[in-house]
């Protein structure tokens, strides 16, 4: 087998960033189309019409869906049957995200946390965000790219409840967060919820929840039921698209969970906007690349 090309990973990382910014996944488009069809509020119906037209124009004219090209997040799944050099993958993803920004070009949003200096590269210390996963059966490298805009990310929150607060507190927390966020996260998108784990893990779980396709259901029936209950409750608020009133305030609620400590009851909410952007690629050892969502 020829030596695996990390240059290819860089090209894929660049390509995925640009693809994600221009074409929404079919599950998100379908959910927005359905929301438009069933909307009964005239203002909201008009907003959905604009959203659908914007998606179409971006695809046809090769334009960015939204000007906020976000911070780049990569979820990497390494297959045990195709082990790669993680350090070189990190370098390739970083370079790919930077090249997307400079070569497309589009506005870079990464900024030094104190000096606020923006290198216009979308990367910097600690960026891109990279989450690693492993698959014993896979013989390819999978990369999922998520550009995360600030309007929605700024509405994220986490809280450490105590066990005595129960599940009730968790449900109420999610609903209250959505109401407090109102129009700011460009609803209707996806409400990602993390339950359990530690303070760091619970926020990662919430992020994993927003990258699940709309229509996917948590395999745990108890969590699946909670997803449905929260979806119904959130849409009953009438906050609607862009917070201007309507039947659909969120397209989906996704919950991901982990075991936690006997004294802990953590929750995190990660909010995704209606342009719930993501792009995926599978890289095979022979250099073949399969693109998808």
């Amino acid at each position: 087998m020829a030596e695996f090309s990390y240059q290819l990973v860089e090209e894929v990382a660049k390509e995925l960033y640009i693809r994600a910014l221009k074409k929404l996944p079919p599950d998100v488009k379908d959910a927005l189309e359905k929301a438009y069809q069933k909307e009964t509020n005239d203002t909201a119906k008009g907003i959905f019409k604009t959203i659908l037209e914007n998606i179409k124009v971006a695809e046809e004219e090769n334009l960015l869906i939204c000007q906020d090209t976000g911070l780049p997040i990569y979820f990497v799944t390494m297959g045990s049957k195709f082990p790669v050099d993680g350090a070189r993958v990190v370098k390739a993803l970083t370079k790919g995200a930077e090249r997307a920004t400079l070569e497309h070009p589009f506005r870079g949003s990464s900024t030094h946390a104190l000096t606020r200096v923006n290198p216009q590269t979308s990367v910097g210390d600690g960026l891109p965000v990279i989450h690693w996963e492993f698959d014993e059966e896979a013989s390819h490298l999978e990369i999922l790219m998520v550009p995360k805009g600030s309007g929605s990310e700024n509405m994220s929150a986490m809280n450490m409840f105590i066990p005595a607060d129960g599940v009730k507190a968790l449900k109420k927390y999610v609903l209250d967060r959505v109401i407090a966020s109102g129009s700011k996260p460009c609803p209707p998108g996806i409400i990602g919820v993390g339950i359990g784990g530690t303070a760091d893990l619970v926020t990662v779980l919430a992020k994993k929840a927003i990258v699940r396709p709309v229509g996917s259901v948590n395999p745990d029936p108890q969590l699946a039921q909670m997803e449905q209950e929260l979806l119904k409750a959130i849409n009953a608020t009438g906050i609607g698209p862009m917070g201007l009133g309507g039947d659909t305030t969120t397209l989906a609620v996704h919950i991901e969970s982990a075991y936690t400590h006997i004294t802990q009851n953590p929750i995190a909410v990660n909010t995704q906007c209606w342009p719930a952007r993501r792009a995926r690629a599978k890289i095979y050892p022979d250099g073949n690349v399969e693109y998808g969502f």
Partner: protein, 196 residues
């Protein structure tokens, strides 16, 4: 819910006829401004080199590229307005701005100024930057270029919209209405969810 075709600059009369939930399409010019622009105007007390009387201002940090002397658009979208709340009443009172285009709305101070001086808030669909970019025909001028991407941009627009009147000059605030209706429903929703 009426639809209005507005040409810029806006008169007080044109703004006073707008009611929340009405929709608006704009032809003419729109000025892009943002946080840094208004920090210079109001905190550093510098007067912008362009007349904003009757203007429509858009909260944006556009992606543009300069080709020779000319600025070309890459992507123009709209940012969250609330960060610019404290600048908006003086923008309306001192400079005569008649409309703000943004997302997520502004607060009571701006609403009061809109009522007193005849101005409004026009909500754009956040995230829909592809359409917005297409509706901007040309970046005619950039003032305070050193602040780019938060300079002052004079955009010539064609059929810009539809925008939704979310705060009118009669004291109506659509975001507040939607929020208070959600609050009213909340006890029932809590009950249904079993968290009351």
């Amino acid at each position: 819910m009426a639809h209005h075709n507005l040409a810029t600059p806006l008169s007080e009369e044109a703004v006073r006829q707008l009611k929340v939930r009405d929709t608006v399409t704009v032809n003419g010019h729109i000025f892009g401004i943002r946080d840094a622009t208004q920090i210079r105007m109001f905190d550093e007390k510098q007067v912008p080199p362009v007349d904003l009387k009757g203007a429509i201002c858009l909260h944006t940090a556009p992606s543009l590229k300069k080709v020779g002397d000319k600025w070309e658009k890459i992507c123009v979208g709209t940012t969250t307005s609330i960060r610019m709340e404290r600048f908006t009443p003086p923008l309306i009172e001192k400079y005569g701005v008649r409309a703000i285009v943004g997302k997520s709305g502004l607060l009571e101070g701006s609403l009061e100024a809109m009522k007193k001086f005849g101005a409004c808030y026009l909500a754009i669909v956040g995230g829909a930057a592809a359409l917005e970019t297409q509706q901007i025909e040309e970046v005619e001028e950039v003032y305070w270029e050193d602040l780019h991407p938060e300079a002052i941009y004079k955009f010539r627009v064609k059929d810009f919209g539809p925008l939704i009147v979310a705060m009118d000059s009669h004291g109506n605030h659509l975001y507040f209405d939607v929020y208070s209706q959600a609050k009213q429903k909340l006890p029932e929703i809590y009950g249904e969810l079993g968290v009351a």
